[in-house]
């Protein structure tokens, strides 16, 4: 069974008295433990796709299913990492990560162990009692990822998680996410507008058309990554120099650029 499925998803909304069609017949199936990135021109509805999988929004017609069940509400089986972190500013790092476990009714001692594990996983040791505003953007996003991972969710939904970070922090976080995703594979739906990020992180990259958004094509990166041993390189720039990487990136970039061109004309 697919972990996430979009079947004929159509989304229309009304803003300032004007009707928009945000998504038009989106079909996409994501296998368990697969990492899929969606790239697309801004305003194409890629974030809307993620929000529908999260249960924050619902399709006008068509179906979004996670583990075979139609999504009706947000829940801890689908942990979300937001672009603007969305940490609770009145809670410490520890308390932020702990909340989901508390809601699940996990006993206190076990909560402590699991939070400590997530803190170690994201290299946040020593910041347990810090408040979010005392941390840099990159550190805050580590907390948000730890908060999602600690729930051991079936599905991770990441909405441009590194979009608000500076270029250097972003690279570090991308490398760490690759390390994390290869070691603890999860089903990941990752939204980005960076083609390089998508190719570097994902098993498959879905390219969306401009609004009304559809899936234009899905590029299978994983076979190339495995065949060309991308994961043997610890640094992102070494991977990005590989001919196989450049080839895929250019291909996706051209596909995306056709969409941007038709929008700007």
């Amino acid at each position: 069974m697919d972990a996430i499925r979009f079947d004929g998803v159509h989304k229309a909304f009304r803003r300032a008295g004007i009707d928009f069609v945000a998504l038009e017949k989106v079909d996409l199936a994501i296998a368990p433990q697969e990492f899929v990135a969606i790239v697309g021109p801004s305003g194409c509805g890629k974030t809307t796709c993620l929000r529908m999988a999260a249960g924050f929004e619902f399709p006008t017609s068509g179906e979004v299913t996670v583990d075979g069940r139609i999504v009706t509400a947000p829940g801890p089986d689908r942990a979300v990492v937001f672009q603007q972190f969305a940490l609770f500013p009145w809670k410490t790092v520890f308390e932020n990560i702990e909340l989901g476990l508390r809601n699940k009714g996990v006993p206190k001692a076990e909560r402590g162990d699991r939070v400590a594990e997530a803190i170690a996983l994201m290299n946040l040791q020593g910041y347990e009692t810090a408040f979010p505003h005392q941390l840099s953007g990159g550190m805050q996003q580590r907390v948000a990822i730890a908060r999602a991972y600690v729930l051991d969710p079936d599905v991770l939904l990441m909405d441009e998680p590194f979009g608000a970070l500076d270029a250097q922090t972003r690279v570090v976080m991308q490398e760490e996410l690759v390390r994390l995703a290869r070691r603890n594979p999860r089903t990941v739906l990752f939204i980005t507008h960076s083609v390089e990020e998508a190719v570097y992180l994902a098993d498959r990259v879905a390219v969306m058309t401009r609004r009304p958004g559809r899936i234009k094509e899905v590029i299978n990166v994983k076979p190339v990554r495995v065949a060309e041993h991308w994961d043997d390189h610890a640094r992102i720039e070494d991977v990005m120099d590989l001919e196989s990487f450049v080839h895929l990136r250019t291909r996706i970039w051209k596909s995306l650029r056709d969409e941007k061109g038709s929008q700007d004309r």
Partner: protein, 264 residues
Amino acid sequence: MVSLAQRPLTSAETIGYGAIGLAAFLALWSALSLTGLVPRQFLPGPLEVVSRMVHLVGSPFAGATLPQHLASSFLRFAYGFALGAVVGIPLGLLMGWFRWLDDIVTPIFDGLRFIAPIAWVPFAALWFGTGVGGPILIIFAGAFPPCLINAYRGARFVSRPLIEAAQMLGTPSRRVITEVLLPASLPSIVAGLRVSAGLGWQSLIGAELIVASTGVGFMMVQAQLNISTATVMAGMLAIGLVGLLIDVGLRQVEGAVRRRRGLQ
């Protein structure tokens, strides 16, 4: 020409200018009363007011000493203020969360809140008497609206992703109110409490001028009947000082909340 980009003042300068203003005010006051330009009966001088105040601390006037009057006023204030907060804050949060409740309450609230607290005096006396109940209603009328408005605004403007984050972490709907809405609104609520305390304290003295048998306001009315203008002014001074203390106290709370939240 005044430059818009003026150099920020040092704290010594700020204190200095404040002292200049205060000194000028006291000088003008003294000049008016001591030169006899205004009859002393109409405007007692600053020293006379202060010495009268010191006198009132030890010897009763209108049945009680000044500290006793103040204590009785403060107790009423505390009740009315607490009632305003206990009713206003939860109601404001709930109105921010449940749109239907907002639609029910807002028209009534907007209709009533422009009625000055003092206008409730006749009914407050009629319904709750002139002892404790009546004045509490009047303080409540002053203290309640800012509590409600600030809790409501705090809850309405909570950043959407925070609510969504709580939901995706499995927080049950009713607990989102205590887990997210309340703490997220806290800076706004505390700011509201400050406004609320100021209005409540002002309303109280107004109420005591008309109803009550103790309290600073009552003392001032009795002094007025005795044409003891220095006592009236001593009462005004005491009101001002206690009001200032209340505000300073709440400002500390506000500062602590904002610092903890990284807002300053």
